[in-house]
Symmetry: C2
Subunit: 629 residues, 2 copies
């Protein structure tokens, strides 16, 4: 699961498509009223910002299958977890730092009488000091943080009763003892449990079946192998009233596809589109899934007959409107809430039947930015640097755009795995800061490069063992194409900004292209993958012993001597995702190389800033670009 | 002892004195050749900078009383210290964080056969985490750092043989058990040891005599009491071949004076000038001392007959030349090395007899700044804010000064106890950065405010319980007087910069006078005295329980909401003098108050930057003023 921050996104508008030599424009929205008021940093960063986001009514299904506006809090657990008296061993807490779909470390049996509980032994994991200024005398809070190639946590999965008594422990023996035990799934009858066991280096996976009464291994149902990586993200989805299940992987046909399997090893492809799909639900007859098959920047709901003995049926699209649809299916799969937006549609909430018929139109949001001066926005594509893929971008034009004038350009970048910044949703999924900067007279450009999600396995895995390389090649190709198309962009006034993986990208771009970027602002950046954690880091980079050249070529420490222009790094002092070691080490490298650098620490924040720190951060970033770009 | 950094100082030049309504000018030097080359940051901060400092030959006395150019390293200790197996208890290491004259924790007896060794029990002292990025997984190095009002270290003094065997321990029972045991002095015959015992709150002192064979208390010879503070800085200086000793205190006559005492309690004043003096040596007949009696900005050597049965003799001045003299007396007090400089004399080294006769002129440094464009410099005085004292300042004029133009002003400030920035030495003791900034077109102003040294006890103790108040009032009075005299200084372009106590002063000035300073740069600043250590901090501020209003009124945390203009804070990450708690807490306060602030951490530096970090720091500070002032 992606813990990185590429949060706070939004959208664009539609108009007459037009094309240039360099790119295909999907949609363009002309600038709005130039006399209307401008955004403020407080509005885009602070509490008020929500007022600028389209808010169609948010709906949920209650326990009776009725629509409701309130989501119930999960009740307090009615069980007790086992407790270890050995330091470093815990039950039922975060494992694998939330990777592999994450968030499920206590999994109740179908009848609720038993629990599958993770046991995590991290006593061998090195500890990292998190600086905490809250107490008068200061404190170093030690966290277990396994770094690439170093000793990691050791997992097992126990079957417990609700009083915390361990009834059995799965006898998992595959691979090494720092294996990942991912996505536990109970069989519908509770007799078996299935786990997708991944080796430490994340190149192999076995889907294994175990007895829950004594933990005995029953059989390996299927296995996967990939020289880049294997990353199971889903549990098994059992077909209603059946022992068949739906399984999702990107390792068989180049895209995240759904397969119909049984526990004896049958694997039959269900979705056949050349696009990534995501499972939503099944009712025994149909499987419901969302998919990028209409367009990588649109998300639509489909259904497909699970058993089609008379030849494959075409999947049925259930969301007719252009745009990005978020789906919430009712428990009985009879209807679904469809919340969508698109470039020029701020937000619609409606209910459709599972055949796709409109049952009720709930709300259409009005344009929350109506009072603001809007800038021209477009979504387009540009060829990836390897000329294989059309990468999507969104582009904000400066306010009162006049091609005869000169303009500076800001590139906002994330670019890491599991991200997709450009979608055909409200304002193209824009971060409101982009519109603020466009109002201040900047072009703002955002592109989803190779390595990001929803474009299939080859696209995603292009970054393997050399994070930052393909990604920044694509970004540079996009910028060059933009400069070619817009002679009015001043080549001497190009800035770049990003957070987390985007901070890493920002500094990689700045260091690899000295003189190109006049201003760079990196937040919570990865500086060297050797300081990043095992689970996410080794998937993409292997480890410093098995991929020394990759770690060396992507490390920013030696590249600090390439710094030019003005560079600002911001980081939360309590960051326990990208630990402080990264940016402080880069600061030291810049000092030793005699390179100018600016820095700002957020003492009480972790990997992302919230509240007043967030406002302060955006004031700082905005001021920095205005001062130096 | 002052651990704060007001280091890297230098000088000025002489010319026709002139006066204004507001101040008396002591000496002025007109600007030099405007076509000569300018200083660079690298020159003033880096290795090359020493080439710009006057270097007359440095000389020392060797063991035979002959002049030599090399100073011998102290031989490796020929003794073993006791070792405690209890964590937190150590022998013969730094005590009282080097306050009270500092630096002497193992004191050999006159015949060298025994040692007086401090035992320090700091097991009750809270630990502070110093962040260390050197190892791959990071580290929090815990240091014992007692904060004002909190549990402090407990000291005792042991008499040991050279094998580390404890022969006796002084039976010190005065005051509380966190008393200070300062300035141990062996009697010439080794039978007794004298210590100046100070209570934890530093208001009382007893000069006690103990037997060295069994540690028994013999008697209290004299005692001092002061409602501000008592700070013994000197051991006893036994008169040659006698049981009389010379004792220095500022608690009897308003200045640091010398007294002739005996062990039965006789106290007879020796130096009678209204100026602070420092003991140098005695030969049984004369005591040699340096004194500020000619002028507070000059340091001269005097001698005085110790026993003057026929009425007091006038002290004899041994250094005729105007300026600041550094004295190195030969062991037999027959002659001394005199190294001096003054505003327009870069540096002279000579040898004089103890009667003051010139024996040998060794060297006169040439002006090392001859090739540089020089700026007009003056030393003058301005009334302290309470109108009692003439405070000294030095002022650099901008290069090519033209009173019809407008100029920005930078105030450089330290202002803390034990400091004196303005002296009649080479270029007025200027920090070369001042000349750099003057060359760039700034006025640069430096003033020694109340609280600094060499002006007597009342001046020094004016800051008691409210550090920063009198000091900044004096600074503001100086600036206002300057603005009155120079209408060409732009009131809207005033900057301030200081380090350590000067960082505290910088932020105090900026926060107490919103809108006055356009740019402030504070290094390693104290932010709230509650985070500062016991020994230095409680002397000036008492503690948060006994002086809550003083701690509150001087704390910069609440004042962060007053910030205006641009403020930059720099600090060494490994600072173990002013711990990181200070500046990070101020950062948080500024964030919460929604105030702009800039910051830069030096990851591998402590309280002061050295080497490449120092160069980087000066590039940053200079750039900051150039960008924003």
């Amino acid at each position: 699961m992606n813990k990185f921050a590429y949060s706070f996104l939004i959208a664009t508008f539609v108009a007459i498509p037009f094309a240039s030599k360099a790119q295909t424009i999907i949609d363009t929205h002309p600038a709005g009223n130039p006399r209307a008021r401008l955004l403020t940093v407080e509005e885009i960063a602070g509490a008020k910002s929500s007022a600028m986001y389209p808010s169609s009514t948010r709906l949920f299904w209650d326990a009776n299958g009725e629509l409701t506006k309130t989501i119930k809090r999960a009740p307090a657990p009615d069980y007790t977890l086992p407790v270890s008296d050995k330091e470093g061993i815990v039950y039922g807490q975060t494992v694998s730092r939330n990777e592999f779909g994450g968030n499920r470390w206590v999994i109740p049996s179908p009848d609720g009488s038993r629990l599958a509980v993770y046991r995590k032994d991290e006593s061998g994991v090195s500890q990292y000091p998190i600086y905490d200024i809250r107490s008068r005398t200061g404190e170093a809070r030690m966290i277990r943080y396994p770094m690439a190639g170093m000793t990691s946590e050791k997992l097992s999965l126990c079957i417990c009763n609700k009083s915390g008594k361990i009834l059995s422990e799965l006898k998992i023996t595959d691979y090494d003892d720092e294996r990942y035990i991912t996505n536990p799934t109970w069989s519908p009858d509770g007799k078996y449990i299935f786990v997708q066991v991944v080796d430490r280096v994340q190149h192999r996976m076995r889907l294994n079946m175990y007895r829950t009464d004594n933990g005995d291994f029953v059989r390996t149902i299927l296995s996967e192998r990939n020289n880049s990586w294997i990353e199971p993200l889903d549990p098994l989805y059992f077909v209603k009233d059946s022992y068949e299940f739906i399984y999702r992987t990107d390792n068989r046909d180049g895209f995240r596809s759904l397969y119909l399997c049984d526990t004896l090893g049958k694997v039959k492809r269900l979705t056949e589109c050349s696009a990534d799909v995501a499972y939503v639900a099944n009712d025994g007859k149909y499987v419901y899934y969302t998919s990028a098959e209409v367009s990588p920047i649109e998300n639509h709901l489909f259904r497909l007959k699970i058993h089609d003995s008379f030849g494959r049926l075409k999947p049925q699209r259930l969301t007719p409107e252009t745009g990005w649809h978020q789906i919430n299916m009712s428990a009985d799969c009879s209807k679904f809430i469809d919340r969508y937006s698109s470039l020029n549609v701020p937000g619609v909430t409606q209910v459709r039947s599972s055949e796709g018929k409109l049952i009720e139109h709930i709300a259409s949001a009005t344009d929350p930015l109506d009072v603001y001066a809007q800038c021209q926005v477009e979504i387009g594509t540009v060829k990836s640097a390897d000329a294989v893929t059309d990468n999507y971008y969104r582009l904000f034009y400066p306010r009162n755009y006049d091609p005869s004038k000169k303009y500076p350009l800001i590139v906002y970048v994330y670019g890491g795995p599991h991200s997709q910044l450009v979608t055909n949703s409200w304002l193209g999924n824009v971060r409101m800061w982009e519109m603020l900067m466009a109002q201040k007279g900047y072009f703002v450009y955002v592109q989803d490069n190779r390595g990001t999600q929803n474009r299939g396995a080859a696209f995603e895995k292009a970054i393997n063992r050399e994070c930052g390389k393909a990604e920044s090649e694509d970004q540079m190709a996009g910028i060059e194409s933009l400069l070619e198309r817009f002679p009015c962009i001043d080549r001497n006034r190009i800035g770049v900004h990003g957070w987390s993986y985007g901070g890493f990208m920002t500094l990689t771009l700045a260091c690899d292209h000295p003189g190109f970027f006049k201003v760079a602002v990196a937040g919570g950046p990865v500086i060297d993958w050797k300081w990043y954690e095992v689970m996410y880091g080794e998937r993409y980079m292997d480890n410093p012993d098995t991929n020394p050249e990759g770690f060396e070529s992507t490390s920013l420490i030696a590249k600090a001597s390439n710094l030019t222009g003005r560079v600002l790094i911001c980081q939360g002092v309590e960051d326990d995702t990208v630990v402080w070691q990264h940016s402080l080490s880069f600061v030291q490298a810049a000092i030793e190389a005699g390179k100018a650098l600016d820095y700002f620490p957020y003492p009480l924040d972790k990997h992302n800033m919230t509240g007043k720190a967030r406002l302060h951060l955006y004031e700082k970033i905005t001021d920095y670009f205005e001062t130096y770009l």
